[in-house]
């Protein structure tokens, strides 16, 4: 179980994030303004803080500065409405672990949180384990019952994305956006996502890991039988 702080002044967005993250049994605290966020950051320990840059009464970057000043062992993911490179660079320079621009998919946010946690520092593990499935994120290899399975780069990314969002329905749009980012709008259709997913599925199924399920006909879900 991980403990998150969601510092976001838009209550609707804040609550949606909470709802999504809580499903994995994580503990989510919220802060709706600058003072609230500063106070909670100073008083409590979190694994990851999701920090909006534009908080009503102050800048999230200030909170980030104080976190880094006090050398707190916490992952920080910045949320910004501003898709500007300078903002991004400033945030990362100040020590943020990742940066995500509004609007984003909750599945994407969740994947980024997991990636930050896996980097080890913040109580996470570089290994992802799920029943007989094991992924070493450092060497980017996947194993089933100790046997390594050869995955392409995209198949590997896809598998990690699925594992970060276990039990969630992922539409093709979300997957395409995760795998190809802005370039995903170039695709006529998401048909070839099937290709990648099917290949991954076949490789897993061949080893007996039948976890990727179809949901609603066109979406996918990584779930235990």
């Amino acid at each position: 179980m991980m403990k998150y702080l969601i510092a976001e002044d838009e209550i609707d967005l804040q609550q949606s994030i909470v709802t999504y993250l809580q499903r994995d049994g994580n503990l989510c605290e919220v802060a709706s303004n600058f003072d609230d966020a500063s106070e909670k950051v100073a008083l409590y320990d979190y694994d990851v803080i999701i920090l909006d840059i534009n908080l009503i009464s102050g800048s999230g970057l200030e909170i980030l500065k104080s976190i880094k000043k006090e050398k707190k062992d916490v992952g920080v993911i910045i949320i910004s409405a501003n898709n500007s490179l300078t903002d991004k660079l400033e945030g990362l320079d100040l020590g943020a672990d990742d940066y995500i621009t509004k609007p984003f998919h909750l599945a994407e946010l969740n994947a980024r949180i997991n990636a930050v946690l896996r980097r080890g520092k913040y109580g996470g593990d570089e290994l992802i384990e799920f029943n007989e499935l094991k992924i070493d994120t450092r060497s980017r290899t996947a194993y089933i019952d100790g046997r390594d399975i050869a995955l392409t780069k995209k198949e590997y990314d896809l598998l990690v994305f699925f594992l970060s969002n276990k039990g969630r329905v992922l539409s093709k749009e979300i997957i395409a956006e995760h795998l190809w980012g802005d370039n995903s709008d170039l695709l006529d259709n998401f048909d070839f996502i099937y290709v990648h997913i099917n290949n991954l599925r076949k490789k897993l199924t061949a080893e007996g890991a039948k976890y990727i399920k179809t949901a609603y006909g066109s979406g996918y879900k990584f779930i235990e039988d």
Binding site: E10, D12, L13, S16, I17, T19, Y20, R23, I79, A81, N82, N83, S84, L85, T101, K102, P103, F104, H105, L106, A107, K153, K154, R168, V169, S171, K172, E173, I174, E177, W180, D182, N183, S184, D185, L186, L187, D188, F192, V195, A215, Y216, G217, S218, G219
Partner: protein
């Protein structure tokens, strides 16, 4: 369009033409007036000489003939007097001379005389010519002086106008540089200056407001979009929905992405307008191209070929270079026809990206306008090429389109 003449040249030309016409007309008038005057004078003198001759004859004094000036002949009959021009040989000068001649017939002391007096015309002709010539000379001198003086004065007078015109030519909407307009003691020029200042500041303000508005709108849209997106993500996961609902919700997600991309592009456009890309460095375009082609291969787009002899280096912002290349390739991918082949050729400072298409664009001149589309495609934001154009304008790169042999080609000439 009519040929444009410079203001000073035009006024000078009018001035000179008027001068010429005046000089000619006045010379002609002077010529005839002086000629008439001289003729009257000659005739008066002829009559007076004749009267003296008659007087002398009456007093029975012997009057000698001095041909050709005076000739007295005895004749039988009285005839009416004749006043005419004649040409007589002058032995002293050995040439034919023109004379004005008056012949009268008088009966004096019972004897009829024909009295002929003549006046040498040459003299008066010389005077006439001298007068006309000096008139022309005076006119020309006066006009040259006036012309010089006038032009100098005009240039000085119009100086504020020309200076302000130069300033207006330099006026740019996007720059914040003040216009340095010159005031003048001429009321109209001063008024013109005030009006220019008023208009330019208004135009700039409007432009700034519009830019700010676009920026704000696109910025403010991010948060509501993020909320919609997040709620949809939760709907999919929390509620049991049917397939039809899922498809519709997925479609909403797709269009949220569209809005997101649209917003990103508008933001780039406004940032370029706001001169927020000031970092200029040597960017290896060829390297970016290779990376992009590699990236697109992951999207199953493996029909892009690159041919380049040596690395193309451009001085620009590296982020904008990336957008430029990305938009050009994306555009080629989106509008590829059945024959899927995109060729990229880089040579010296020129980059040409071509893709196959059915026919030439109907309105290539509108190609770089925002939101101009010739095919209605959901994928196209209508801003990709507008951004490319904007980037090229920023760095004075030449960006052009042409269609030949069923291929749409876009070329950028870097600097």
């Amino acid at each position: 369009m009519e040929k444009k003449t410079r203001l000073i040249k035009k006024t000078s030309r009018t001035f000179l033409l008027t001068g010429l016409v005046l000089a000619v007309l006045s010379s002609i008038a002077l010529y005839f007036y002086t000629k008439g005057l001289l003729q009257d004078q000659e005739e008066e003198s002829l009559y007076s000489t004749e009267a003296r001759v008659v007087n002398a004859l009456k007093n029975d004094k012997t009057v000698l003939s001095f041909p050709p000036v005076t000739e007295i002949k005895k004749v039988q009959h009285i005839r009416p007097e004749i006043l005419k021009d004649t040409i007589i040989y002058d032995p002293s000068q050995d040439e034919m001379e023109e004379f004005r001649e008056l012949s009268t017939y008088e009966k004096i002391n019972g004897q009829t005389y024909q009295i002929t007096v003549r006046y040498l015309v040459v003299e008066s002709k010389d005077i006439l010519i001298a007068i006309v010539f000096s008139n022309i000379a005076i006119f020309v001198l006066a006009f040259l002086f006036l012309f010089y003086f006038n032009t100098k004065k005009n240039i000085k007078l119009w100086n504020p106008f020309f200076k302000n015109l130069e300033q207006m030519k330099k006026f740019s909407l996007s720059s914040n540089e003040e216009l340095h307009l010159v005031d003048s003691d001429v009321l109209e020029f001063s008024e013109l200056k005030e009006e220019i200042l008023l208009l330019t500041s208004k135009v700039r303000n409007d432009y700034k407001n519009l830019k700010q508005f676009t920026e704000d709108v696109s910025h403010e849209m991010h948060t509501p979009l993020a909320i919609i997106q997040a709620k949809i993500d939760n709907i999919i996961n929390e509620h049991s929905i049917n397939k039809k609902q899922f498809d519709q919700v997925s479609s909403i997600q797709k269009h949220i992405q569209r809005l997101k991309h649209l917003n990103q592009r508008i933001t780039i456009l406004t940032k370029i307008d706001n001169n927020q890309f000031i970092r200029v460095e040597d960017v290896n375009i060829t390297k970016i191209l290779e990376e992009k082609i590699e990236n697109f291969k992951e999207l199953e787009i493996d029909y892009i070929s690159l041919s380049s002899k040596n690395d193309l280096i451009a001085s620009m912002d590296v982020y904008l270079a990336d957008i430029l290349i990305n938009n050009l390739i994306s555009n080629a991918i989106k509008h590829s026809s059945q024959e899927k082949k995109i060729s990229i050729i880089s040579e010296n400072k020129t980059l040409v990206i071509s893709n196959y298409g059915q026919k030439a664009l109907q309105h290539p001149e509108k190609l770089f306008l925002r939101f101009y589309r010739e095919v209605n495609s959901v994928q196209s934001s209508g801003l990709g090429l507008a951004i490319v154009k904007k980037i090229c304008d920023l760095y004075n790169f030449d960006f052009s389109y042409n269609f030949s042999e069923n291929q749409h080609s876009f070329s950028v000439v870097f600097k």
